[in-house]
């Protein structure tokens, strides 16, 4: 770097093997003043050890309440090209599959209206177009619409749902995650684009208990594929794994959480007591050629997952142990709507579904969504004697 570099700290992040975001910013800065000023402001943050974006700001496009995040620099005189630097959340195609033609169209639109910088992708799954001034928002959206890209969610709405790669490239998928995702996204366009809930609401869809989209950690509605019948075994392939050096006793059988497997090393035979299998995926993950999920497939629906804000992080809880997942997915859509209605009616501002269930009790939630209590919902029954009876039950 030349001695007169304006970004000596950031320049150091161009070294090293991992892809450099600084290099990417510099590439964009060759064409766009906004990217150049973004570099300058970030260098300032690296010196000051503090962010330089103002608090919030509401911007948008016609007809939508969300999808664009307002962002303003607190150093607009020094960095005028990022004085207004708003973000689009653009709804990605399911599974994050693209044709290169479609990507180039997207790049052309973004080069025309914005900074030329993106996130592929944001944590929620959207394509993030990073940085456009206020008066570019509507024309940019109009051009995005022209090439078939709609906006994702932001604020107190349904956030952009996402799903794992599913049957497009995974033999573990217990239902069509991409089809469900696409269907749900189209069904709930109003909820996605017009914030009217107490807070954000997330739907994340994984085809098996490996949960590649982290649904259990972060989504109000976690859909996780599972099956009801027996793990399918190909005995010859099991034997091949053993022949090729896998220690099936130590690596598979001894690590099975339910102890439902037996390995006969001499006969190279694996037997599974399926009635005691909890379908954790460990054995299937290790021997994908030999073992496969059963044929009676569907999903477990879990609710309430969220990050810490406001009252602490929660992982989703089993609400519906098994649901068939077939188009048009009416049972799932109706369940989500019922849960949303209850949440909308009872939730306080910025209270996620899991926090509301915690505050009013699982009992109230089950009543609202009209579901029976079943032991699959809990790890253990309560250990305290403080419980309610409906007066109707005490007669």
């Amino acid at each position: 770097m030349a001695e007169d570099s304006k970004t000596p700290l950031l320049d150091q992040l161009e070294d090293g093997p991992w892809p450099s975001f600084v290099t990417e910013m510099k590439r964009a800065a060759e064409k766009k003043d906004a990217a150049k000023d973004l570099l300058g402001q970030l260098e300032r943050s690296y010196n000051d050890k503090i962010g330089h974006w103002k608090h919030g700001g509401i911007v948008g496009v016609r007809g939508y309440g969300g999808g664009v995040i307002g962002r303003y620099s607190d150093l607009p005189e020094e960095f005028p090209a990022v004085a207004e630097f708003h973000t689009f959340r653009v709804n990605m195609p399911a599974g994050w599959f693209y044709t290169t033609d479609k990507l180039r169209q997207l790049c052309d639109v973004w080069d025309k209206h914005g900074s030329g910088l993106t996130n592929m992708h944001g944590a929620t799954g959207d394509i993030i177009l990073l940085g456009a001034p206020t008066d570019a928002l509507q024309p940019c959206f109009d051009d995005l619409a022209e090439i078939g890209f709609d906006l994702g969610g932001s604020g107190s709405d349904m956030r952009t749902p996402s799903a794992c790669v599913g049957p497009a490239r995974c033999e573990y998928a217990c239902f069509d995650t991409l089809d469900l995702l696409h269907e749900v996204t189209l069904e709930f366009q109003d909820e996605l684009h017009r914030p009217m809930f107490p807070y954000k609401s997330k739907i994340k869809i994984s085809g098996c208990p490996n949960d590649c989209v982290a649904s259990v950690a972060r989504s109000d509605f976690s859909v996780i594929g599972t099956w009801k019948d027996e793990i399918r075994i190909d005995p010859d392939e099991v034997a091949n794994y053993a022949t090729n050096g896998m220690d099936i006793q130590a690596e598979v059988v001894d690590m099975c959480p339910t102890g439902c497997m037996k390995w006969d090393a001499e006969g190279k035979t694996l037997t599974i007591d399926n009635a005691n299998c909890n379908r954790c995926m460990h054995c299937i993950n290790l021997m994908s050629k030999a073992l496969r999920p059963g044929k009676e497939k569907g999903a477990t629906i879990l609710c309430g997952g969220k990050a810490p804000i406001v009252h602490g992080a929660l992982m989703s809880w089993v609400i519906i142990p098994f649901m068939k997942m077939e188009p048009p997915y009416d049972e799932f859509k109706e369940f989500v709507q019922k849960a949303w209605e209850w949440w909308d009616e009872n939730g306080k501002m910025r209270e996620r579904l899991g926090e509301l269930i915690n505050r009013l009790g699982m009992r109230a939630f089950l009543k609202a969504v009209d579901l029976p209590p079943v032991p699959q919902m809990i790890r253990v029954p309560r250990a305290n004697p403080y419980y309610f009876w409906d007066p109707e039950e005490v007669k």
């Binding site: 991992w18 975001f21 690296y46 608090h55 195609p93 479609k102 592929m120 490239r169 804000i309």
Partner: protein, 353 residues
């Protein structure tokens, strides 16, 4: 003219390469060929090779055009991204796999992130584009992964290792179930700007937003007051009200959490647990953070059994052993004092010395 609205995302069916379209839902098994390369075989006998590369996530349109060009040459014009922001080239012609990898390496892309490796860290915006960060995101991740890139490109670990970073407690990245979570934190209470509070904030909403009940009305100022002894610096009040800023160059920094997982394989999903309550923001390369992460990764890698995730190893040997083996000092911040604290205390004398 009224804009078209509510038409939804592009249909994924128009984005699938022919080999996937043909074998959709008919994949039989897969193999991990080598780091960064997966081979999926369909019932039809068709093969699909996936070559995965790391991405800095913050990319220019030129980068997208570059990788599109590569996908045109080797993959018939199709590519995809993963849930952890890796880029995947989908190759249906086996003969193209090695030339593609050679080309990628020549161009400086890192091939890896599959199998028992550290995959691409999920992360947030940080100082680049967020209004509530306690640290940068892309810079910390770049520094950590520069240091650990060998674990991305090689299989040297006992199991998967998922590193994630969120630059504040809002956790856009939902990092709280990661093998190693890097979380930006504040350590100073908000400094109330009465004028801004009066002009811009809904006082009852700000009070309700405090998880510890530390915020009270200040009738004299027609504003708010913070009971600093009760404040845990979560920043939620600032999210609600620009008159409550708490970012501070000395107060802000990074905490390290370990042992979380998402998958239900063997053991249920786990929350990450606090291991290091604070490391300073030391840009551009955050050496305290990169050292801490490497120490944790390598201590786990050298002690865990095959297939044992970080949290499974720690639960087997015990947290007291984790602190002994890593040499991480145990401080009072590691003992929970939020709502579910008692669940984390020990009620048996069966611990290890």
């Amino acid at each position: 003219m009224m804009s078209r609205t509510d038409f939804g995302p592009p249909n994924y069916k128009d984005m699938l390469p022919p080999v996937i379209e043909k074998n959709y839902g008919q994949w039989k098994y897969h193999e991990r060929v080598k780091p960064g390369v997966l081979k999926h075989v369909a019932e039809s006998g068709d093969e699909l090779y996936t070559v995965r590369v790391g991405s800095g996530r913050l990319v220019s349109t030129d980068w997208i055009r570059d990788v599109s060009q590569i996908a045109d040459t080797y993959c018939g014009g199709y590519l995809r991204f993963t849930s952890r922001h890796n880029l995947e080239f989908l190759v249906s012609d086996k003969e193209q796999v090695e030339p593609l990898i050679d080309h990628l390496k020549e161009q400086g892309y890192l091939v890896g992130g599959t199998g028992y490796a550290i995959s691409n860290p999920v992360h947030t915006q940080g100082w680049i584009h967020c209004h509530t960060p306690a640290t940068d995101a892309s810079g910390v991740v770049k520094a950590v992964m520069d240091d650990l890139s060998e674990y991305f490109t090689d299989w040297k670990l006992p199991a998967y290792c998922r590193i994630s970073l969120a630059c504040c407690l809002n956790m856009c990245g939902a990092v709280h179930c990661s093998d190693i979570a890097i979380l930006g934190i504040h350590r100073k209470p908000p400094v109330v700007n009465h004028e801004t509070v009066r002009a811009k904030c809904e006082i009852p909403n700000v009070i309700a937003a405090c998880p510890t009940g530390a915020i009270r009305p200040d009738p004299k100022e027609k504003s708010l007051t913070v009971n600093e002894e009760k404040c845990m610096y979560c920043g939620n009040c600032y999210t609600m009200c620009p008159g409550m800023p708490l970012a501070d160059p000395i107060g802000d920094g990074v905490s390290i959490w370990v042992g979380g997982k998402i998958s239900s394989a063997r053991t249920p999903p786990k929350f990450s647990r606090l291991a290091i309550p604070f490391l300073p923001n030391n840009p551009p390369r955050w050496p305290e953070v990169t050292d801490a992460v490497r120490n944790i990764v390598e201590t786990w890698a050298s002690h865990a059994r095959k297939h044992e995730r970080m949290g499974e190893w720690i639960e087997r040997v015990g947290w007291e052993k984790f602190f002994e083996l890593t040499g991480i000092p145990f401080t009072v911040q590691l003992i929970d004092d939020f709502t579910l604290a008692p669940e984390t205390f020990r009620s048996t004398p069966t611990f290890k010395w």
